[in-house]
Amino acid sequence: MTVVEERDLRTDVVVRLDAVAKRYGTGAGALLALDRVSMTVRKGEFVCLLGASGCGKSTLLSLIAGLDEISGGTLDIGDRRVSMMFQEAALFPWLSVAGNVELPMRLRGVGRSERRRRADELLDTVRLGGFADKRPHELSGGMRQRVALARALAQDADILLMDEPFGALDAMTRDILHDELERIWRERDLTVVFVTHNVREAVRLGDRVILLSSRPGRVIEDYPVAHPRPRRIDSPEVSGQAAEITDRLREEVARHAG
């Protein structure tokens, strides 16, 4: 065990999954969602989990977040804290924009003025400085996701988990939010695990793209993405690698025919 810990320290591993399995139900009707998933995430890394429907990528994220329990193997995030963003912004309508961002701090007992100051600073970070006193419904979808990002950052967590956070947005907004997320990830030295089914999005954002198979979810490939940042989703390098990964994904989907 000591050996493992030493290695963790040296390589800064913050998430370690070893042969993780997740089953729903028991007996003959049990569904194996994840099968022997092993992967690691290092501090400051941007890791994208990519897969077709039924690959259990969202399940995997829920397991890391502690929202669900593993059925086998080991999952170790130490005493690190996680925050999470979902496809819906899921802002609370009874709170103002600033109130939503302050909520995680309120739960930790941060004082009122300190809360407000930090919320203002976080809203500036997501370029919503002038919207602190608005209500969530007064904002557009992309703006709401940025508030959700500010709220997630307000948790001061070690790991940011993102479950298809831009899936419901139009292409233009998504493109701009990729730039924003990349900027904030670099400025704040975040560790991100990002789930998506969009291959280009994964290559655009990730340091690594982990490709999962479907039913059950297994790691089939772990692609390093070495293109210089800031990247563009339509650059030849991103498109080229996305095409390569798409081919692999198609093979995987075809396996389920018949």
Partner: protein
């Protein structure tokens, strides 16, 4: 490196530019006077039609005029009525009964609703009973209430509370049940547990449903109270119901109809208050 300095600015412009495009120019608010008129004239028209029909029936000779007077004499009676201090004492008494009964119903309904929503065995035991109680016509409770509490304020209070509390409880229960799953997950990731989860998430999230429960509860309380005031006559307490009964005993149709109008107007006014509260909440939440 000038190019490097320029990049963040361009990015910021793109973001704020897109924001302002997406928010768009919201349509200018129309004038207040116009809005008020637009929502008022259908109501005025409805009142005019009702009065016209009433007048036509009255002059048709279907019933003698001392049994069914037309709007003219009734409004004359009503005008006389509302200028007496005695009448306002009756209104005050009735409203105090209504508000205190309703308040007690809210208290009891909230406690029961919260308990049922949080403990599964309790829900299995009395969840459907609460819905059953809601369908009970409250007048059915009076014989029992009179046996339990005699002809007194408590009998009326009992029926008002038993009529209104189930709606309040049900409003809270469905509010708690239908807190969106994603909100609960967000709360869980934020580390909300136990009381904090209720205080910061579940209770505020169930507010709209709770408010419609209150609104419905009030309607039941008001109906139960009116039935109670006609059936349970407490010596010395000259409420609206008692006055109406007295008018009937004196065969004073004009006065009976006047009291009907009074009860109708009170009901409408209070309903408007609930609507305003509900509307303000929906607007704040962006539900409209």
């Amino acid at each position: 490196m000038p190019a490097d300095v320029k990049v963040p600015d361009a990015a910021a412009d793109r973001v704020t530019g897109l924001d302002s495009l997406e928010l768009g120019g919201s349509g200018g608010t129309s004038q207040l006077g116009r809005r008020v008129w637009r929502s008022t004239w259908p109501k005025l028209l409805a009142i005019a039609i009702a009065l016209l029909v009433w007048q036509l029936v009255a002059v048709s000779g279907w019933k003698p005029s001392w049994v069914l007077p037309g709007p003219g004499p009734v409004f004359h009676d009503l005008g006389d009525l509302v200028t007496t201090a005695d009448f306002w004492d009756g209104v005050r008494l009735t409203l105090i009964r209504a508000v205190s009964g309703f308040a007690l119903a809210v208290l009891i309904g909230t406690v029961i609703g919260a308990a049922v929503a949080s403990f599964a065995p309790l829900r299995a035991a009395i969840g459907s009973l609460i819905t059953g109680l809601q369908t009970m016509p409250s007048i059915m409770w009076f014989p029992l209430a009179i046996l339990l509490f005699q002809l007194g304020e408590k009998a009326i209070l009992f029926v008002v509370v038993i009529g209104a509390a189930p709606s309040v409880a049900n409003g809270l229960i469905s509010g708690i049940d239908y807190v969106p799953r994603t909100w609960l997950r967000v709360g869980q990731v934020m580390g909300m547990r136990g009381i904090a989860k209720y205080r910061y998430l579940v209770l505020p999230a169930s507010l709209p449903s709770f408010v419609s429960g209150l609104k419905q509860g009030w309607a039941f309380a008001w109906r139960s109270l009116m039935a109670g005031e006609l059936l349970v006559i407490v010596p010395g307490a000259v409420s609206i119901g008692v006055r109406m009964q007295n008018a009937r005993d004196l065969s004073d149709s004009g006065l009976v109809i006047s009291y009907i109008i009074v009860v109708l107007v009170l009901g409408i006014v209070i309903d408007m208050l609930f609507k305003a509260a509900d509307g303000a909440l929906r607007k704040r939440w962006g539900l409209t």
